[in-house]
Structures are given as structure tokens and as C-alpha cells.
Point group: C2
Chain length 295, copies 2
């Protein structure tokens, strides 16, 4: 009998393989490099990174399965007693070269405590630099289908959770146009694991068609500059607010694997605001007022 | 009788003027732009920013004097009861174009509570991209002189505090080569205010000679790339650990004034390590093992 942790880890590794294979196909030649690493308390991970690709300026598809003891502050944050834990996850972030192709993030994780409690968490969200409404609707539609296949109540809840989670309070702006986000998902393991697999298997469908559609969209220096400035917001979110980043650094995970989410090149310009009515401004308006993209 | 808060604020504004004037002289023509802003609970600030200068790619010299009520979490962090407060400060960050000129940061602040408690905090620290030991010694020497002029016990304590404060635990690296840092400095107001003025008046002397010495040091694409990568560490420190940034964002200060400290252009490259024995490696070695620069 294979433990729950092992079942989940094995699925994440298969998903990592199939996802990287499809992304390499898109890149026609550029390959992921792989680093395997060991966690100081037990377990480890496989970090796969692609840099300076034709489509992706930087991307990472990482799996990890670690064990350890919750620090007091981590236990407090999880609202449980300090004890041993195991955590398995897959994490993906892709930063495209073209500002016409959105950055995408997806992550699924399984957490188990010594006292027997366990839960799943995860989600997927899209961060465009220019707004193509069809792309946003496509992304949300795929994730709604994944949710609906397991529980028709999930999508509404997880879409809203995503809008709330990927929010920069100091900017009063969402990081992107949302997707789904969930955490502390407990219940029937078989059903929830099926949900996680349905999600994991939906990622490529949610994103690759957008890449293919926008690949030949023209852009120049102006659009690249805007992308670099917006990537600054991505950094602000990940370092100021992201729980996964905080958990990883606090539990002394592998820094280069955790911070692979940071974009390859970023700019901060003082008090920059796009001019009213511009395409850049159209994006900002949507980030300030999250929308319902599908019915 | 002028209140302590007003005296300090007035000094910070004079210091802002004289500092900006000297930096503009260095820039021979490029000027700071000024934005005045109002805090939602009372008071406000003057943000002065220089971008795309000849010497400074981005720099800010900001003063603020705000009033408000401590949130529960801020009161907890300061280990006081929630109550009204006033805070005056000056904050400077300069990001040079040339990787041969170090980034510099200085900040002085005065904090007063409704219950009468007050304290000063502040410091100055240097973040080089390439190590010129003479420059580092000069910087430390000036700050030691400023400390010694008021209290011969200060420098040792505040130099160590700086090494401890500007440290990135996830990287096991200092942000730079140190300087001084102090907080919760309480006692005789006249003496401590004199210390703050001695410090404030030492800033230009601690930094401008370094700029002038390194201005014609040659550099190319390789050195610029290293500077951009190292600036990534600056961002990591400021967003993950800096108390001033956290306080500013949490007390809903003006975001663009707080985040003026972020560099204009930054890179993250996966798992980049300079080659052993290189000039880049020489810097990293010093950041991993803080030194005594002067006796």
C-alpha cells in the first residue's frame, strides 16, 4: 500500500515530466536544465529551469517532497501544534519574452502532519501585460471546467479566493487577472486527489493555446518597458506577501528553487502611470477591479 | 518653545536641501524633481527623485513628518501600547550608473509617542558591486568619527548592529559592507539630537569622495550585468526584511516614496555564482564574512 504522500509525489513528478516536455516542444530546441537537491531535514526536490529561450525568458517547473519539524512560527501560521510534517508540491512560473504573452503561475501541494491531519492547496493564475479578453476568458474557462468536474461549488469559491490572495494591498491592485486558488482542502482523499490531478492535467490546456495565439503579436521597446515595470509588481507580491515564498524561506528550503519565480529582468521607475486610455491603462483598470470573466 | 518633533523635522528639511544641492552639483545639470504629499492621518512629506542622471541611475532623498495611530501589529512590534504617534525622518538611497560606484543608503528618524516616550534611529550603509578597500575604509572612518564625536562607545556597537541588521538570512550574506545602524536611542534629547545632526552632516563626506574617486574607473557589460544581479539582493532585503519598508507600507505611507529605494533595473539569473578568484567573488567573500575595516 503506497502512502498518500508517495502517491501525490509520484503524480507531481509525472506532471513535471509531461509539462516540461510540452514546453520544450514549444521552444523547439531550448531545454530545461535540472538540479536535484536535498533538504537539510529530509527529502529534496528536482528544479528544472529554462533560461533565455525563444518564447520563455525564464521559466521553472519544480517538484519537491520534504520532511521536517514545524518551527513555532510556522505552526502558529498553520494554526496547529508544532510537530513533524511532510510536504510535496509542484510549482511552475513562466516569464515569456514577449509582453503580449502573459506570465503564468501554477502550484499544487500536499501537506501532511504527524498527527494525521492532511490537506491539499494550489491554484493557477495569469498575469498579462496587455489585455486580450479572449485569452483571459479561455484561461478561466479551463479552470472552471477542472473545478466543475469534481465539485460544482468549487469554481466560484476558488476564483474569489484567487482574486483575494493575489492582491497587493499597498498598490490596491491584483497581481493579474486571477484564476483559481485554494488551501486547506480536506475531506475524501480519493476525490480530492482526483481534483488535484484534474487541475494538474488542465494546466497546459489553460495556457499553451494563449502562447500560440499571441506568439506573433507585434511588440517593441515601449511594450517591453511596460512588461519590465509590471514585473516589478510581480516581485513585490512574491517577496512581500506570497505564503509559499515565506514558507520556503522560513523552512530553509533551497533558495534558488524558491526564488526561481522572480523575473529575469525588472525595472522600477518612480511614480510611473500609463496615460489614460492607453492599452497599458486598460490593463491597470482591470487589475483594480477584478471581473467575472465567464458565466 | 519649539517642540522636539518640529526641531528634528526642520533639521531634516535643511539636510535634504543641502544634500540634494551637492548631489545636483555632482550631476552638473540633472535635477531632483520634488513631490509633496499628504499622509491620510496627518502630516506628509517631500519626496525628491533624480532618475537617469549621469552619475545616478536613480536616487531619492525623502523627508516625511507624519502622525497617526499605531495599529495593533505596529504597537506589538514596537513593544508599546497602541496609541497616537508622530514620526519624522529623512531617507536617502542612491543607485549609481557605474558598477564601480557603490549604492548608498542613509536614514535618520525620530519617533514620539503620545505617552511621551521618544527615540531616534538611523544609520548609513554602503553596498558596493566591486570591492575597493580604500573606499570601504573611508566610509567607515567617517562614520566612526561621527560616533566618536558624541560617545566613544557608539561606533563599535552601531557598526555591529549594522552588520546584523543588513543581513539576508536566506542568502547567508550581508547586503553590503556595513556602516552604522541604531534604533530606540533614548536619553538626553540635546545630546542625541546633536548626534543625529553630526551623522546627517557626515553623509556627503562619507560618500562623495568615493563617487569622485571611482567615477572614471572603467567598466563594461560584464560589470553592469553583475551590478544588476547584485541589485536583486538589494530588492530581496528591502522587501523581505527591511523594517522601514514594512513600517511604511503597514502604516499606509506613500508607496512611491517608500519604494523609491528599489533599483531602477534589476536581474535575477538562476543559481548564478561568480567564478572562484574573480573580482565578483572577492566581493561575495567579504559579504559572507563581515570584516573590521578600521581599528
Amino acid at each position: 500500500m503506497i502512502s498518500k504522500t508517495t502517491q501525490v509525489r509520484q503524480y507531481f513528478e509525472i506532471l513535471q515530466d509531461s509539462t516540461c516536455a510540452r514546453l520544450e516542444q514549444l521552444e523547439s530546441g531550448h531545454r530545461f536544465i535540472e538540479d536535484r537537491w536535498i533538504h537539510h531535514e529530509g527529502g529534496g526536490g528536482q528544479t528544472r529551469i529554462l533560461q533565455n529561450g525563444v518564447i520563455f525568458e525564464k521559466g521553472g517547473v519544480n517538484t519537491s517532497a520534504v520532511r521536517g519539524t514545524l518551527s513555532d512560527s510556522l505552526a502558529r501560521r498553520l494554526e496547529v501544534n508544532p510537530q513533524r510534517y511532510s510536504a510535496s508540491g509542484i510549482s511552475l512560473v513562466l516569464h515569456p519574452v514577449s509582453p503580449m504573452i502573459p506570465t503564468v503561475h501554477t502550484n499544487f501541494r500536499y501537506f501532511e502532519l504527524e498527527d494525521g491531519a492532511w490537506w491539499f492547496g494550489g491554484g493557477a493564475d495569469l498575469t498579462p501585460y496587455y489585455l486580450f479578453e479572449d485569452d483571459v476568458r479561455h484561461f478561466h474557462r479551463v479552470w472552471k471546467q477542472a473545478c466543475d468536474a469534481v465539485d460544482p461549488s468549487y469554481h466560484k469559491k476558488f476564483k474569489q479566493w484567487c482574486d483575494e490572495y493575489f492582491f497587493l494591498p499597498h498598490r490596491l491592485e491584483a497581481r493579474g487577472v486571477g484564476g483559481i486558488f485554494f488551501d486547506y482542502l480536506k475531506g475524501d482523499f480519493e476525490i480530492l486527489f482526483r481534483f488535484i490531478r484534474t487541475c494538474g492535467n488542465s494546466f497546459l490546456e489553460s495556457y499553451v493555446p494563449i502562447v500560440e495565439t499571441r506568439l506573433n503579436e507585434p511588440w517593441g521597446e515601449h511594450e517591453k518597458e511596460w512588461q519590465l515595470l509590471r514585473r516589478g509588481r510581480y516581485v513585490e507580491f512574491n517577496l512581500l506577501y506570497d505564503r509559499g515564498t515565506a514558507f520556503g524561506l522560513e523552512s530553509r528550503g533551497r533558495v534558488e528553487s524558491i526564488l526561481m519565480s522572480l523575473p529575469p529582468a525588472v525595472r522600477w521607475r518612480y511614480n510611473f502611470e500609463p496615460s489614460a486610455g492607453s492599452r497599458e491603462d486598460a490593463l491597470v483598470q482591470v487589475l483594480r477591479t477584478p471581473r467575472e470573466w465567464i458565466q
